[in-house]
């Protein structure tokens, strides 16, 4: 990574961290229903998505705020999913090539593989990347996705963030083997990287994407990360993990590591405080835009079920509209 890109990575990681902290506060204030924080995973998320090109397609899970920030996804539309405004998110999937966030754990790996197969059928040199946790690798769909990707040499990057915990269940209870080694069983390479090292993540993801672009098929990346917070704002992680573990992780904060790396290369303090100011401004803008954003009207629940609503559905829509009156 060159110096510019490294600074850009830091800037976006910081932005993701500050959004993440704000989202937790917004939940505590009743503005969001629930939120799954990703603090601690910024290097894995931001550096990986920056290794892709804009035409590549991203398939996120629900804990991918850093990926969304790295991709330039509209934050208001993204956060509104956590206000319950729209399942899957209110952002424009096509503009950022960022699929609806998957909360059916592991099911979206297959969508990424199918999309990648489609890109390959078209002869386009586009790549799909799919983000998931180590818990998702226990799902049968993950194995089916690995297998299809291997058999069809699909241009897909499987990006597993192993943050050690699937809610309260530790990684060693998900799998007796090492996740990155599963690639070999399906006929493609797997690599393990330090998910707190932005440069290592960027290098591994770039190599995997280039391999896919060359038509050589998928790669499984296992990025070892830590989530500093609970599974979600509704979770109490003190019930299942030691504080010492979290403290150790925080001492190895990927943001701090990258800052030290940049500072050592001569980036001045003023640059960091400018980045902090920029993030603070963005966060306050997000808070304001969320407060101003209206939820889609209830009758929109009928509008995207089918391409055109069948008569019985159109009737149900008008019944609700009539009940709601001017509030519809």
């Amino acid at each position: 990574m060159d110096a510019d890109r490294l600074r850009e990575t830091y800037r976006l990681m910081l932005l993701a961290r500050r959004y993440d902290e704000e989202a937790v506060r917004l939940q505590r204030q009743g503005e969001l229903v629930a939120f799954p924080p990703m603090s601690g995973q910024e290097a894995a998320q931001v550096a990986s998505v920056l290794a892709l090109s804009p035409a590549d397609m991203v398939f996120p899970s629900y804990r991918e705020l850093g990926v969304a920030v790295g991709r330039g996804v509209d934050m208001t539309g993204y956060m509104l999913a956590f206000r319950g405004a729209w399942n899957g998110g209110l952002y424009d999937c096509r503009r950022n090539r960022f699929a609806p966030m998957a909360s059916s754990v592991g099911s979206h790996l297959l969508h990424a593989v199918g999309w990648a197969m489609g890109a390959r059928l078209d002869g386009r040199d586009e790549v799909a990347i799919v983000y998931f946790g180590e818990g998702a690798t226990s799902e049968g769909d993950a194995s089916e996705a690995f297998n299809f990707a291997g058999v069809f040499r699909a241009p897909v990057v499987f990006f597993c963030q192993n943050n050690g915990w699937a809610i309260s269940v530790p990684a060693e209870r998900q799998s007796a083997g090492e996740i990155w080694r599963r690639g070999e069983a399906f006929g493609f390479p797997g690599v393990r990287v330090d998910g707190g090292d932005a440069e290592a993540v960027f290098a591994a993801t770039s190599a995997a994407a280039e391999r896919a672009r060359r038509g050589e098929g998928p790669t499984l990346i296992e990025a070892l990360t830590h989530r500093f917070g609970p599974h979600s704002t509704a979770d109490d992680d003190t019930r299942y993990r030691e504080r010492a573990e979290v403290e150790t992780a925080r001492r190895n904060d990927p943001l701090g590591r990258l800052r030290a790396r940049l500072a050592a290369s001569g980036v001045p303090d003023s640059w960091f405080s400018d980045a902090e100011d920029e993030a603070r401004l963005a966060v306050s803008e997000l808070r304001a835009s969320l407060a101003a954003a209206e939820n889609p009207p209830a009758v929109e629940m009928f509008d995207f079920v089918y391409a055109a609503p069948p008569p019985a559905l159109a009737l149900q829509r008008s019944q609700l509209e009539e009940l709601l009156g001017p509030d519809a």
Partner: protein
């Protein structure tokens, strides 16, 4: 017009769609070189190449999951799940993703997936090869459920389903696969969602779909011998349901018997009779009757004819509505 079996008519429909639209893809287990376990895809890989007609690993969830991704990438997938009972490993992808993706993306992605599902019993199949899961799919908003009753309908409806922008669960009645009739291989151009009066009658209306349409026609012939005139309505499409034709047909006779192979409880006949109660109550001369499979897991092939609604069971129900 050529005389074709339903298998050949389905094959012709797939061939038509592959030729007419170069983003149509056919895939599933054994659909390529073998031509499918029922030969519905026979010769298609040879004609259209391995790029567009291909075998997949043995993984139903995988087949449906990649169909979702392929649709997102702008393709028009026509996957096959080999048998009704093996659609269950793919239920999560069907219910959670295929049915919901248009909504989850606020309309950004069409899901023009036609999932072909050889369905129902009557062929002496082993366990898990004779299920009637239509009400599971009909109960899942976002899916459409289409089921032909004869070769001509199979051709027309499959072409229409593949052209449809929404996900269609296309349930093919295996027990009617080999029945032949003259088939016009010109797409009728009609959208899915229309029921069809296949026999007019004045005393009562039999409502059915898929394999039970043929059974109801047998019942209507038997009734004719006794001087009773039965109409037969083929719903063809459970979602969207052609409620107007349903209500009109039943209102003309005032009596309805709804027939399906699936078990009785929460079967689609319950939905049909509820619609008749709501929309045709004033015209009904008798309570709507249901003749269905028993509330048991699909039995072994040796006794399946005692499970599937028989002519006699349907006639008894007809007598009940006539006598009321």
């Amino acid at each position: 017009m050529p005389e074709l079996s339903m298998v050949q008519a389905l094959n012709a429909a797939l061939r038509h769609c592959l030729a007419a639209h170069d983003r149509t893809l056919v895939f599933g287990q054994d659909v390529g070189r073998l031509g499918g376990v029922f030969r519905v895809t026979d010769g298609l890989q040879h004609e259209f190449g391995e790029r567009r007609v291909f075998d997949t690993p043995l993984a139903e969830s995988g087949i449906v999951g990649v169909a979702v991704g392929l649709a997102m990438a702008g393709w028009r997938p026509v996957p096959e799940i080999q048998f009704d009972g093996f659609s269950f490993p793919a239920l999560d992808q069907m219910l959670t993703n295929l049915a919901k993706y248009r909504g989850r993306s606020r309309g950004a992605y069409d899901m023009p997936v036609t999932l072909r599902l050889p369905s129902y019993g009557g062929i002496g199949g082993p366990e898990h090869h004779s299920e009637s899961p239509e009400s599971i799919y009909a109960h899942t908003a976002g899916l459409k459920v289409v089921t032909p009753s004869c070769a001509q309908e199979a051709f027309n409806l499959l072409v229409a389903a593949i052209r449809d922008p929404d996900p269609v669960i296309f349930m093919e009645p295996k027990s009617r696969y080999w029945a032949k009739e003259e088939v016009a291989l010109e797409p009728a151009g009609l959208p899915i969602g229309r029921a069809c009066v296949v026999r007019a009658g004045s005393d009562a209306t039999l409502v059915a779909w898929g394999p039970m349409v043929h059974r109801c026609l047998q019942v209507a012939s038997a009734a004719e011998e006794d001087g009773v005139s039965l109409g037969v309505l083929d719903l063809r499409c459970l979602v969207p349901l052609d409620e107007a034709t349903l209500l009109t047909s039943v209102a003309e006779t005032g009596r309805a018997v709804v027939v399906h192979e699936a078990p009785r409880t929460a079967g689609f006949a319950a939905e049909v009779s509820a619609r008749l109660m709501e929309g045709a109550f004033g015209s009904l001369k008798a309570p709507v009757q249901r003749v269905t499979g028993w509330d048991v897991p699909y039995p072994s092939g040796a006794v399946e004819q005692q499970y599937i609604p028989s002519v006699d069971r349907i006639l008894l129900a007809v007598q009940r509505v006539l006598d009321y």
